[in-house]
């Protein structure tokens, strides 16, 4: 891979790695809640079924990507990335400015465990599949975002495999650490990661949308670095200007 290709490949791998880290942590929290209350068997079954459903979706929809002309693909993916990335960035800025509370994995773990305990008390029979459902849904729904990011970041320039590698590395890392410590991964700086991913996805969105519209970016791939700096600067500045005292948010 030459230098220019790395200027796009590195952000693509980095984006999918960081985004997958966030999503995998969220999914793992729920799978862990299932495992803690009902054992690892239904948790692993639900997670495996979720991964299977995701794989099926990719196998069914993946070949369709080859049928779409490149400019149209870049345009559609660019617009979707803009919507998705700017949504993440908006939320991350609001959290960084303490306008909305931070994502709390410990609280989610406690709430999920309480819900599962309620279900367990009501229905003692057919517990395994009932317990497996939250794990299945968590992996499927969080995984959908990972699949979208991998396709969106990778498909425009034939970087699907590097993007997949970034996502897979993040998922394996979360799994390895999670299984080792058997606690919610609450110490992951989730909002910082989301901020970074929002910045990168929004930048990719502007880049692909422009390419799709036939805009030849000055500096070609290096324009992406400029977009990242602009989104980062504006995001950090907006969060600083709007920052509220934490006490006010907790009220």
């Amino acid at each position: 891979m030459d230098t220019i290709a790395w200027s796009v490949a590195a952000p693509a791998i980095g984006s999918t790695f960081l985004a997958s880290l966030v999503e995998a942590v969220e999914a793992f929290t729920i799978v862990l809640a299932v495992a803690t209350l009902r054992g690892w068997r239904p948790a692993a079954f639900g997670a495996a079924a979720g991964l299977g459903a995701l794989a099926l979706l990719v196998i069914l929809l993946g070949p369709l990507l080859d049928q779409v002309p490149l400019h149209l693909l870049q345009f559609v993916i660019g617009v979707l990335l803009l919507l998705f990335g700017m949504g993440w960035l908006r939320k991350a800025i609001l959290r960084a400015a303490a306008i909305i509370p931070l994502h709390d994995e410990d609280a989610i773990f406690a709430s999920e465990t309480a819900q599962l305990a309620g279900v367990t008390d009501r229905r003692h029979k057919s517990l395994d599949w009932i317990a497996a459902m939250p794990a299945f849904k968590a992996v499927l729904l969080e995984g959908l975002e990972i699949v979208f990011i991998v396709i969106a970041v990778g498909a425009g320039r034939g970087l699907l495999w590097p993007a997949c590698g970034g996502a897979l590395a993040a998922c394996l890392m979360v799994l390895a650490i999670g299984v080792a410590i058997r606690q919610p991964l609450a110490k992951v700086p989730e909002n910082t990661l989301k901020f970074g991913v929002g910045v990168m996805l929004s930048s990719f969105g502007v880049f692909w949308t422009g390419e799709g519209l036939g805009i030849p970016w000055p500096g070609q791939d290096l324009a992406l670095a400029f977009f990242v700096l602009m989104f980062l600067a504006v995001g950090v500045a907006t969060a600083s200007v709007l920052r509220r005292p934490v006490v006010e948010v907790l009220r």
Binding site: R90, I99, L141, I215
Partner: protein
């Protein structure tokens, strides 16, 4: 069937977290596409409108949410 509903709702939420932000981005892209297609706007100007339009939209969306939450 509930799982299908959950998947669709997740997909919708992925792209429409804030309806006004979504609408503003779509309008901006449509305007830039129109300008590029009709008056053959130069790449630097078209790209600039797209980039700075997105930056303005994100600032407006965050400021609007901050105002709304400040009023509650």
């Amino acid at each position: 069937m509930r799982i299908v509903g959950d998947v669709l709702s997740e997909l919708f939420g992925m792209f429409v977290a804030d309806a006004r932000l979504t609408l503003a981005v779509l309008c901006l892209v449509a305007v830039v596409a129109g300008l590029v297609g009709t008056i053959k706007l130069g790449p630097l100007l078209a790209g600039g409108i797209l980039l700075f339009g997105c930056l303005a939209i994100i600032v407006e969306a965050v400021a609007r949410e901050a105002r709304a939450r400040g009023q509650r």
